[in-house]
Symmetry: C2
Subunit: 351 residues, 2 copies
Amino acid sequence: MAKRVTIKEVAQQAGVSYQTVSKVITGKAQVTPETEARIRKAIHDLGYRPSHTARSLRSNRSYTLAYSWPPSPRDQANPILDQFLQSMFTEAEQHGYYLLTFPYHADPAARVAAYQDLIDTGRVDGFIISSVEYNDERVLCLLENKIPFVAFGRSNPELVFPCIDVDGGAGLRMATRHLLEQGHRQIAALAWPEDSRVGNNRLEGYFSALQEAGITPPPDWVVRGEGRVSFGFKATRRLLALPPGQRPTGLVCLNDAMAIGAMHAAQERGLQVGVDLAITGFDDAPMVQYLNPPLTSLRQPVWEIGRQLIQMLMDQLDTGEQPDPLCSLYQPELMVRASSTGQFAGFENVS
Amino acid sequence: MAKRVTIKEVAQQAGVSYQTVSKVITGKAQVTPETEARIRKAIHDLGYRPSHTARSLRSNRSYTLAYSWPPSPRDQANPILDQFLQSMFTEAEQHGYYLLTFPYHADPAARVAAYQDLIDTGRVDGFIISSVEYNDERVLCLLENKIPFVAFGRSNPELVFPCIDVDGGAGLRMATRHLLEQGHRQIAALAWPEDSRVGNNRLEGYFSALQEAGITPPPDWVVRGEGRVSFGFKATRRLLALPPGQRPTGLVCLNDAMAIGAMHAAQERGLQVGVDLAITGFDDAPMVQYLNPPLTSLRQPVWEIGRQLIQMLMDQLDTGEQPDPLCSLYQPELMVRASSTGQFAGFENVS
DNA sequence: AACGTTCGTGCGAACGTTCGCATTAACTAT
DNA sequence: ATAGTTAATGCGAACGTTCGCACGAACGTT
C-alpha cells in the first residue's frame, strides 16, 4: 500500500503550518482566500486525505452509526430490509457517516452487552433501533448512558425517545374501507395475539372503519394467531365454515403471510379470490404481486422512513437536542391488486 | 455521558506504568502473574475499556470490514441478503471486527470512489464484494491498491483474487437429473442472455445432465431472456405451444422469478404444475414454499458462505497471505417440493 | 568477584490530527 | 503619534493508546 500523505506534508508544500491546513479542511477558522487556494492546491497535488482515525481521536467523534436487527426465520424474508438499509446508509453518506452492522443476540444480556461494547469503546456516535419491545433493554441502556439514538417503532409511553412509526391503524382502516367500497359488509380480520402492541394498533383501524360503516363485527370475525401462512390457512378455513349469514366475504390480514394462507384456503374451497373472498395483506412483500391473483397489500414508506431516521439522528448529534415532534407517524399506502378487486390483466406485462 | 476511564488511571491504581497495562491487554510482552493480576483487577474495578480510536491510530488497523451491494429492484426481494449479512457480521464479531455498509452507486466511477474513500481515510481493513462483473472496477481498484478483499462470485480468469462461488452448473445438473428421475425426457430451460457469466455456467449443468441421459435438446428448449416473472410466463407459453412430440414436460429455470411466471403460464392452460409440467427454480426465495404448489428450488448455503468469506479475509489480514485454495465452490441443495413432484400435503402444517 | 544472559518493567516517542490560546500585522479612530 | 480592534496564522498540547528500545535486577557460569 502506498504511504499515506500526512497533513504535515501538505503544510510544507503550501508553506503554512499544519494547523492552518486543518483550519481549511474543517472550515472552523478564517483563512485568507490566497492561503486557502494554496493549501487546496497542495491537497489536490499530493492527493491528501485526512486520516479518519486521527480525526476521530481528537474530535471524539467516530462518524459511524450502528444498527442491529433480528434475523428473519429461514422461511420468511424480511421484506423491507434491503431498502431500509439502503436508505439509511445512503442518507448517512450524505453526512459523512457510515452504517455499521452487528449481531442481534438472542439473549437479552448479550444483546445489551453488544450495544454497551460499541458505546464503551467509542466505536459509534449513535444507534438506530427497530423491532422495539415493551421495556426494551436496548432502549433502557441507551437512555441511561445518554447515547443518541432513534427508533423505528414505538415502545411503552413512559420511555421517551425519538421515533418514527408506521400508522398501522390507519393502514388497516384504509384496507377495511377499501373492502367496504368494493361492496363487502362482512369483513373479518386475521390478527396477532392480544399481547402484540403493533397488532392491536393495526386492529384498531379495522374496528374503526367498520364502526364508521355502522357494522358491529361478531367476535368470530377476529381470529388471532401467529403471523404465518399455516395460521392464515387454518383460520380462513374456519371463517369459511361459518353460516352464510355470518361468513365473511372480505378479509383483512395483519401481514402478508397470513393473507397468503387465506388465499390458499379460499382456493381450496373453489372460491375465487377477489370475487368470492376479497383479501388484503400488510407489508407488500416484493413477491406478493406475483401470486395468483396478486395480493392487495399495505406498503410502508421504507425509504422515507430510513432516510428520516438518519436525518433525526444527525440533527441530534449536531445540536444535542431532541427532534420536534419526538415521534412521527408515517402513513402506509394501499397497493390495490386483484386479491381484493377480482380484476387482473395477467402476467404478460408484470415485471 | 460518563467520563471514559483511561489507561493512565488503570496504571495509577495498579501502581505500574501505563505501557505495562497495554502489554497486559495486548498480550505481546511477558508480565509476571502478580503484576498481571493486579492490573486486571484495576481494569475490572474501574470498568476500563480501551479506546478503539486510539488503538486504531497507533496500530494502523480499524477492525472494520466493509460491504456494499446493489439494491434490489422494488419488485424483487434479495432472497439471501438477511442471512448473508447476519452470517458475515456474526463471524466478524468473533474476530473483534464489525461490518460497515455503504451505498453501491449506480455510476461505476462513483462506486469506485466510494471504495477509494474508505481506503484513503483508513476506514476499513478489508472488503467483501459480491455481484462481481467482468473486469469489475472494484476488483481492479482493490487489486491495484493491494487492499485485502474476498469475493462472493467469480470474475474473468485473469483477475486473481480470493473468492467463493456457488456451483450453479452443479445445481442445474442436480435439478435436471431430478426431473429425469421423475420420468421426464423433454426438459426445457429458461435462461439469461448469452453474455451472462453466471447464467452460462448454470446452463452448462443442464446440458451436461441431458447429455448423460443421452438426450440432445432441440434449440427450442432453451429460451433466453430476463430473470423476471413476465419473461418466464411468456417463454413458457411459447414452450407449451410446441407440438406434442417436442413440448417439454419438465422445465428448469435459472432463477425463481422465471419459475413463478412458468407456473402461472402452465396453470393458465389448465395444466397441473408438478404433474403435467414439472418446474424447478434457483435461489429458494423464502416465499416460494408458500406458492401453490410450493416450488422446487436450489438453495445456496448462504450462512456457510458468509462465514467462510470472513474467515478467509481474517486469515489474509492476519498472515498477509492469500488463501489456499484461492477459490472455493460450494454446492447448492435441491429443495424438492410439489412443483416438480406433484405431491403436496397442504398448507395446514407449513410454518 | 566479574561477566554474560534473561526477564520484567519503564520510558520516549510516535500515530495524525484538532482545539484553544497567543502573537503579529494591519487598519481605524482619536 | 498613540491606542484599540480585528483578522490571520502559528504554536503547544492534547486525544489514548502501542511500539521499540533502554535499563536494572536476578540468576548462572567461570
